[in-house]
Symmetry: C2
Subunit: 137 residues, 2 copies
DNA sequence: CTTGACCTTCCCATGATGGGAGGCCTGAGG
DNA sequence: CCTCAGGCCTCCCATCATGGGAAGGTCAAG
């Protein structure tokens, strides 16, 4: 299996497969006589693992840890759980931040006539951070 | 007011002030004889505006638009509102994505014993995306 | 043997931010 | 007037994960 086939089989782009090798997230692929990388089931599974980890929002650093725990048959599940829980806390914090932004903006937008007139509580707020309005829509 | 004072007054780092100038988000600052940038109230207000916009999660491109609307006394509030609403939709989408990640991980973590044993539904899921478990904690 | 699809490496860009080097300037104390 | 600290200048590099593209070698089907 060359890199293109591995890419299709794992859902990871060839570019990224090479990158993961470069940053030593995965072992260097073996090469054919023509210097083509070759992949077997084991590598495909690792690439799928990485892809799935990314889709859960883990950073490369976290995935590196998860991957090494996954490879270790004697890992304590405690360590995996710790990484996951830390990531959940991080996600929750970022969600809360974005939620606060969205709520503020929703409120301001509600107060904005959104017509041809120049008065705009949204701009007023960004300019002065007053966070309220008299003219609810 | 030189760049350090402007930085303190606006809460934007000197590095960033120079960067905003470079990407033409703000007009080039006037210079003293010694080539030092100088800032007046108007510029400080723009920097504050930018900072506030960033804290609401707007991208530089969006802030550029907002800033130009802010400078234009005849802007139609419609345009400001459109930018804000698009941004809120974007935030909501990202929040939903992260919420889904967090929910999945919370579920998996709940199923994980988190002790010294190697069995781990979190790793099992990342490896196979099965998304369920028999052993709820 | 030709052609097209695929592989290789290397470089560049993103977006917003920070770090740091090397060099000039300014202001306050001596 | 001189000196020294701290501030300013520009320029380069790094981040994180990803993609784009160029130049050149390779493989398989016709």
């Amino acid at each position: 299996m060359n890199i293109g086939q591995a890419s299709r089989a794992s859902g990871v782009s060839a570019k990224m497969i090479r990158y993961y090798e470069e940053i030593e997230l995965v072992r260097p692929a073996s090469r054919t006589g023509a210097n083509y990388r070759e992949y077997a089931a084991r590598e495909i599974n690792e690439l799928r693992f990485i892809k799935r980890g990314r889709s859960l929002g883990f950073s490369m650093a976290e995935i590196a840890q998860l991957l090494s725990l996954w490879r270790d048959r004697d890992r304590p599940s405690r360590e995996v759980k710790a990484i996951a829980d830390r990531h959940v806390a991080d996600l929750d914090a970022r969600i809360a931040g974005m939620q606060a932004m969205a709520d503020t903006l929703r409120h301001l937008s509600q107060c904005c006539a959104g017509d041809g007139r120049p008065e705009c509580p949204i701009l007023a707020d960004i300019a002065e951070a007053s966070r309220s309005c008299d003219r609810p829509a």
